[in-house]
């Protein structure tokens, strides 16, 4: 089960504003890789390049699954989702006027996931029992923490091989941030997922990271081979810990 992503020399931006400069990162099969950086450094843009929401100006994004290599650049978001790449977007982006269950069911839109709808619904309700209790509630009327559960559960409904998580901590109370991060790890282990998570909450993110990158002004400034390497890095002390 090798589902990996290799992003090489990606340059991207919006109009004349350059956001990513020569970004190269790898996410190996079954790994949880974190992309650390504060606001406005290009984390979300990189995630959007992978899902096809932003088209890079140059570079390569290769998705390798079961020995097959697929270049994602130029593909539509729909085609990329079809390949088994799911994204939990920043700010959750639920369908507010649909119920929890309708949101989850839409997560299984891609043809490969439709056949497993019941099985995956049972799995996410097992992982998030609160959502089972609230299945008929409108997503827009739920608390931030519950909405984040729906967003993560909805992405799992597509039966992903690779899960991209963009800023899961935004807008959540600290206790909910650590619960959310722990839940992502739990899902990774249960489903043997390959995860790339963009996050600015350094302390929470490295709890579940196998490896990580630090992105500053659109460039990868540091690659940490494990959580300890990230934790002991001078730049992190400088940017995050105020040392």
């Amino acid at each position: 089960m090798a589902n990996s992503l290799s992003i090489s020399n990606v340059e991207a931006g919006y109009g004349s504003v350059r956001v990513l400069h020569d970004v190269t990162i790898n996410v190996g099969g079954g790994e949880t890789v974190v992309l650390l950086g504060s606001n406005g450094n290009g984390k979300s843009t990189l995630i959007k390049c992978i899902t096809g929401l932003v088209e890079p100006d140059s570079g390569e994004i290769i998705f390798e699954t079961d020995g097959e290599k697929i270049n994602l650049i130029g593909k539509s978001p729909e085609d990329i989702v079809d390949l088994g790449i799911a994204m939990v977007p920043e700010g959750r982006r639920l369908f507010p006027a649909l119920t929890v269950e309708e949101n989850l069911t839409l997560g299984a839109y891609r043809p490969a996931a439709r056949a497993k709808l019941d099985e995956n619904l049972e799995f996410v309700y097992g992982a998030f029992p609160r959502l089972l209790e609230r299945r008929n509630q409108l997503a827009g009327s739920m608390s931030g923490g519950e909405q984040q559960m729906v967003a993560i559960a909805r992405s799992m409904m597509s039966d992903p091989k690779i899960l991209l998580v963009d800023e899961p901590s935004v807008g959540l109370a600290p206790i909910l941030v650590s619960q959310t991060i722990a839940k992502i790890k739990e899902l990774q282990e249960q489903r043997n997922l390959t995860i790339l998570m963009a996050e600015q909450n350094f302390n929470q993110a490295i709890k579940i990271a196998d490896r990580g990158y630090i992105i500053v002004h659109g460039q990868i400034e540091f690659e940490g081979a494990d959580a300890a390497a990230l934790e002991n890095n001078e730049m992190i002390k400088q940017y995050y810990l105020g040392a």
């Binding site: 899902t51 989702v81 079809d82 507010p96 597509s158």
Partner: protein, 290 residues
């Protein structure tokens, strides 16, 4: 009070309401769920009436069968109209005013086309059962009202099942709420809207058949329905299919009672009265979700 008069008013109101549901259904999808102000929807219904008239007169086809046969063609026309609308207005974000003008113009074009081909005279269809009625006690139920009522219920039920039970239907419910999120579910929002618009216009084919069964049709008769349709959609709750049916029944019943006891000239005020009250008291409508 005359019991027979009252019971007949109720029966006629329910039958009329069912027919109104068929008329409002397409716009309930297009306006209620896609946020596209297709003011030409009644003109598409009248186009359905005239084509049913042609099939009925030319081949002796039953009006309901003719309406159903026209649905795929109307679907294709709807897909085409949405593509033009998308490329010209929605893609560049100019849909609110320019889009409204587009549909207003489309309405005139459709009306004028039928004036050119058929003139301004009233047209009607023929079927064995039109003109007959069933007597149940004091109440007389004309077939020309009962058949449209049943056809409308079946069409509304089918659309409701499609929207709530299929992946495509649920994507249509979601598309105007967050199109980026829908892309992340693996659906192309433009394709989804195109299909939904096509379905909305397809319902106009059958609604047109029902319209010309209920009474004679002339090219601009659709204008009588514009206000009523919007009132039904708002009262029912934007985009809610069950809401559209319930609101249509309420307005049909109220109009029938007003017509019977106050006078037919007051009937058009009913829909606008409900529209005003809904907007003031419960702007999300009866079945509105948020």
């Amino acid at each position: 009070m005359d019991a027979s008069l009252f019971l007949n008013a109720i029966a006629a109101g329910i039958l009329l309401g069912g027919f109104y549901a068929a008329v409002a259904l397409g716009l309930s999808i297009v306006f209620g769920q896609l946020d596209i102000v297709n003011i030409a929807h009644p003109a598409f219904i009248v186009a359905g009436s005239y084509l049913v008239f042609a099939l009925n007169g030319g081949f002796g086809l039953d009006p309901v069968i003719a309406g159903i046969l026209l649905m795929p063609i109307f679907f294709a026309v709807g897909v085409f109209v949405y593509r033009v609308y998308y490329a010209a207005f929605e893609r560049t974000g100019r849909e609110s005013l320019a889009g409204l003008a587009f549909f207003f113009g489309l309405m005139f074009v459709i009306e004028v086309l039928f004036i050119i081909f058929y003139g301004v005279d009233y047209r009607l269809v023929e079927a064995d059962y039109i003109g007959k009625q069933i007597e149940i006690g004091l109440v007389g139920i004309p077939w020309r009202m009962l058949v449209p009522f049943c056809a409308a219920l079946v069409m509304t039920g089918a659309i409701y099942l499609f929207m709530s039970r299929t992946f495509l239907g649920r994507a249509i419910l979601a598309v105007s709420q967050d199109r980026l999120a829908l892309q992340l579910m693996g659906a192309d929002p433009v394709k989804i809207k195109q299909i939904a618009f096509g379905i909305g216009i397809a319902t106009a084919a059958l609604a047109g058949a029902l319209l010309i069964m209920i009474g004679p049709v002339e090219p601009t008769i659709g204008r009588l329905y514009i206000g009523r349709i919007f009132a039904i959609i708002v009262l029912g709750g934007m985009g809610s299919i069950p809401g559209t049916l319930v609101a249509a029944l309420i307005i049909g019943l109220s109009e029938s009672i007003v017509t019977t006891y106050i006078g037919p000239s007051w009937a058009p005020t009913v829909a606008f009265g409900f529209l005003l009250i809904t907007l003031a008291v419960r702007p999300q409508g009866l079945f509105g979700r948020l």
